[in-house]
């Protein structure tokens, strides 16, 4: 197991490095000028040059890349110190330093910005997953149990609607009904207390969760229907096992294996940031950050969000693999 984890860790690092390098190249090849975006569309060329010089963007691309990679992960005994110091933009873990530099636009260490935003995105991702799993698995089980009934048709119909609805439309609709008309929830934002955070997360989590839940409903329903036809389930029923035990112990456990795969990938993608939802609901997470960074060509922030996203996806894959072993003993062998 240790060797397996080590191997995966090396692969994770390689994948993240490859994605990061690709992102760096793309960000610099696309015609655009980060210095112009900082100085403003109308700044005079001399002022744009001044900003470019300050941001270190007048160096050749290869030099910029080398400098970025050298700084990204390094070892030092120095403490972080103040923001203008040599390690002022580092996140530190003992001697290990992580440094994405400073945001061109926000003029703050990128690790600080990510540090603020990542927990909020994780919170939203987990809330959305909760909606997806509870609603999706629940409805899927119900539809499979009542196969061919009105409930089954309604669940399948609703899941089709949920999968088809664009996120922004669904978000606006939920915002209009639950926040504007019924005034049950805040319209948007993040709040400043734990209670406000929880109230604020409901609408974006529902918006994200509905599409996922719709997909899970279909997946769980179809898997359960297939599993219920398998020999070991039929044997269990024939032996007089209680329906609940048959469903939960024999059918659901097997039906969950493909769900876990999808769930893991979804979690990775959600932690990478739900761009539309975060922007619509002014949820200050990684998704909204990556949009504004892209629009502003804020290189250090773009690269940091790429690292977060790719790491989240790769790690969630590792978790999925590991969870197979728990659900299916054959995998462990």
């Amino acid at each position: 197991m240790t060797r397996y984890l080590l191997r995966r860790a090396v692969w994770t690092a390689l994948v993240v490095w490859a994605v990061l390098t690709l992102a760096f190249i793309v960000n610099n090849v696309v015609p655009s000028d980060p210095a112009r975006m900082v100085a403003g569309a109308q700044a005079r060329p001399r002022d744009v040059d001044r900003v470019r010089e300050q941001l270190g963007l007048s160096q050749p691309i290869a030099v910029q890349y080398g400098r970025f990679m050298r700084r990204l992960v390094h070892f030092s005994t120095a403490r972080r110190g103040d923001a203008s110091g040599p390690h002022g933009a580092c996140a530190t873990l003992g001697w290990l330093h992580l440094d994405f530099g400073k945001s061109y636009q926000r003029r703050r260490p990128v690790v600080d910005i990510i540090g603020e935003r990542l927990p909020r995105t994780v919170m939203l991702a987990l809330a959305a997953m909760l909606v997806q799993v509870v609603v999706g698995v629940g409805l899927g089980m119900l539809a499979a149990a009542k196969r061919g009934s009105l409930i089954d048709h309604a669940s399948v119909g609703a899941s089709l609607l949920g999968v088809s609805a664009p996120t922004f439309l669904l978000g606006l609709l939920l915002q209009f009904v639950l926040a504007h008309k019924l005034r049950l929830l805040p319209l948007d934002g993040y709040g400043s207390t734990a209670a406000e955070h929880l109230a604020c997360v409901v609408l974006p989590a529902l918006t994200l969760g509905v599409a996922g839940a719709a997909y899970y409903t279909r997946l769980v329903r179809d898997e359960l229907i297939s599993v219920m036809k398998l020999d070991h389930v039929r044997t269990a029923i024939a032996k007089g096992m209680s329906p609940a035990r048959v469903w939960f112990r024999h059918a659901l456990r097997n039906a969950l294996v493909p769900l876990i795969t999808v769930l893991g990938l979804d979690l990775g993608a959600l932690v990478g940031g739900a761009i539309v939802t975060e922007t619509l609901f002014r949820w200050p997470g990684i998704g909204a950050l990556s949009v504004s960074a892209l629009l502003d060509r804020d290189g250090p922030v773009i690269l940091a969000t790429v690292v977060v996203t790719s790491t989240a996806i790769v790690l969630s894959n590792v978790l999925v693999d590991a969870s197979y072993a728990l659900l299916d003993p054959r995998v462990k062998r």
């Binding site: 569309a41 001399r46 002022d47 203008s84 005034r183 049950l184 929830l185 929880l198 200050p284």
Partner: protein, 565 residues
């Protein structure tokens, strides 16, 4: 079947709900009161994000709005765009128009409680213009004596700025500059507290001498900015508001919902649909107004690239555009036919400028050597021309109309939609783009701010060029140089009238529109006025909301989760 009917009913309910009548505005509590009353917190919102609260590095219109609240300058713009002495008690200009002497008001307190002195003014100017400060406006002040030596680090101090007494500051220019006071009225060089030091530092916390100061922890990046009244503000009765909360990154639909609920007090970024609804609604109409036009739109033609290297083709484009059709794309659009905006010096009201005349456009195409027959659709420029435009609502829609209109004179346009950063990189690069949708927002209300960056030879650069038509005209350059130096407003008026005629006739741009914002506010917000330079100008604004509370939200969850902190 029954469930389908129920579903249809629910859908209809939701859709009709989205188009429901606007809520009634919240009335003013004491309509009989005319004198301002102190108190209350103003709630504003914007879709944009704030980049900087340091006057030395701020670049956007939103930054400028907030800087106007936090910092005061030696001079400032009044609501009509005229310059007045603000932190300075008075100022004088020498006979050679090169020396500006300012006498500061005594007893002006900064947000840190320190008194403002001439050395603070000098330090703030030097800090903002220091070569290591990433200032986007430094070149606006390059006529200050010693600017070059200072920015090339040949001198420790900026020679042209001197404190001649505790309350006296003198700024000397190397040559007369009629725009200097206007540039000085912009926020860039406003005095900052001693905590800002002598050199720019990212980590500095905003501190100035304006009517509001940043609340402790008041800037939550990408979320909100909270300001509180500066009790030591030198205009002793002002500001009337206790504070301002500015929410960032809020989309226009949410802003509308919040205005109707009284959760924000002003709504400036209306969608086209909301502009129509609010301006047509008798309950709200009285509390809406169109802001002063501060921008220009046009079709920029690269005079170094065919077919626009031919002045007749450019004139043809200028005559082929039916601006009235474009105006209808957005309710607040204004048709613009000359270079200078209404209300800005240099605008000759008798000068018609560019206007729609398709017959004339066809004649210009004939003179250019590319005659086009609209009846048969034959002739015209033989190859498609790429038109670069940003992927944003108004620009994109305008481009489609332009495409149709130019097809009628034999110019076939292919639209190339790109992101804003790419649009800037391409259009500001020499020999890169033949025609594009162009816009310009005024930095300060003076014709020089439009003519010089857009049409002077000195504004041409290989990259990052402001003059995106790469248009060069010696006669225009000479007029602009004289206009910049002339002290007499009447002489300046005449010079810029002449400049306007040249630009309109040579048509490096086909001028089309200005798009002032339509603003609506709650009635209880009193004396909320238009301003010629700043959006959300709140000088003199006060709240008369009375006891009307914002309706409670999050009732269900709030009661369950209320104990959590």
């Amino acid at each position: 079947m029954r469930s389908i009917r129920r579903l249809s009913g629910l859908t209809f309910f939701l859709l009709s709900g989205c188009n429901e009548p606007l809520s009634a505005p919240i009335p003013t509590a004491h309509p009989e009161l005319d004198a301002p009353v102190r108190g209350g917190v103003l709630h504003l919102a914007t879709t944009f994000d704030l980049k900087s609260l340091d006057p030395a590095t701020s670049a956007s219109a939103l930054d400028a709005e907030l800087l106007e609240m936090i910092y005061a300058g030696l001079v400032d713009f009044d609501a009509s765009g005229k310059i007045f002495a603000d932190l300075s008690e008075n100022y004088s200009i020498s006979g050679d128009a090169r020396t500006y002497a300012f006498r500061l008001r005594r007893g002006v307190l900064m947000h840190d409680g320190e008194e403002l002195t001439a050395s603070d003014v000098k330090r703030s100017i030097e800090r903002a213009l220091h070569p290591e400060t990433p200032s986007p406006f430094a070149s606006f002040y390059d006529r200050i004596e010693g600017f070059q030596d200072y920015t090339e680090k040949k001198s420790e101090h900026l020679a042209g700025v001197r404190s001649t007494g505790r309350y006296d500051v003198e700024i000397r220019l190397r040559e007369p500059d009629a725009t200097f006071l206007a540039a000085l009225a912009m926020p860039s060089l406003r005095p900052v507290c001693k905590s800002a030091g002598e050199r720019f530092d990212d980590a500095w916390s905003p501190c100035g001498a304006g009517p509001f100061k940043l609340a402790p922890g008041g800037w939550q990046p990408s979320r909100s900015v909270s300001l509180v009244r500066h009790e030591g503000y030198f205009r002793t009765n002002e500001p009337y508001l206790d504070g301002v909360v500015y929410t960032l990154g809020m989309n226009a639909v949410t802003q509308r919902f919040k205005l109707e609920a009284g959760e924000i007090d002003v709504f400036r970024e209306l969608t086209q649909l909301d502009t129509t609804r609010f301006s047509a609604d008798p309950k709200w109409r009285e509390f809406g107004f169109r802001e002063t036009a501060r921008n220009l739109l046009g079709e920029g033609m690269n005079v170094e690239m065919p077919p626009f290297d031919n002045v007749e083709v450019r004139r043809a484009v200028a005559a082929a555009i039916d601006r009235d059709e474009l105006r209808r794309l957005r309710g607040t659009n204004l048709v613009i036919q000359t270079r200078v905006l209404p209300g800005v010096l240099g605008r000759d009201p008798g000068f018609v400028g560019q206007r729609f005349d398709r017959a004339a456009a066809l004649e210009h195409m004939r003179l250019a050597g590319w005659p086009f027959d609209p009846a048969t659709g034959t002739g015209g420029w033989p190859t498609p021309i790429t038109y670069v435009v940003t992927q944003s609502g108004l620009s994109e829609f305008t481009a489609q109309v332009i495409q149709q209109q130019l097809a009628k004179i034999g110019l076939r346009i292919e639209l190339k939609l790109v992101s804003f950063p790419t649009y800037l990189a391409l259009t500001q690069r020499r020999h890169s783009v033949a025609i594009s949708n162009q816009g310009w927002n005024q930095d300060f209300p003076d014709p020089a701010d439009f003519f010089e960056p857009l049409f002077s030879t000195s504004a041409i650069n290989e990259e990052s060029s402001n003059n995106t038509s790469f248009y060069s005209n010696d006669r225009l350059d000479a007029l602009l140089a004289r206009g910049r130096r002339a002290a007499d407003p009447r002489e300046r008026q005449r010079l810029y009238d002449d400049a306007d005629r040249i630009v309109v006739d040579d048509a490096p741009w086909a001028l089309t529109l200005s798009y002032p914002l339509y603003v609506v506010h709650q009635p209880y917000l009193r004396r909320y006025r238009d301003h010629a330079v700043y959006g959300n100008f709140i000088g003199g604004t006060w709240l008369d909301r009375g006891a009307t509370a914002v309706a409670k939200r999050a009732g269900v969850l709030g009661s369950v989760l209320g104990g959590l902190r």
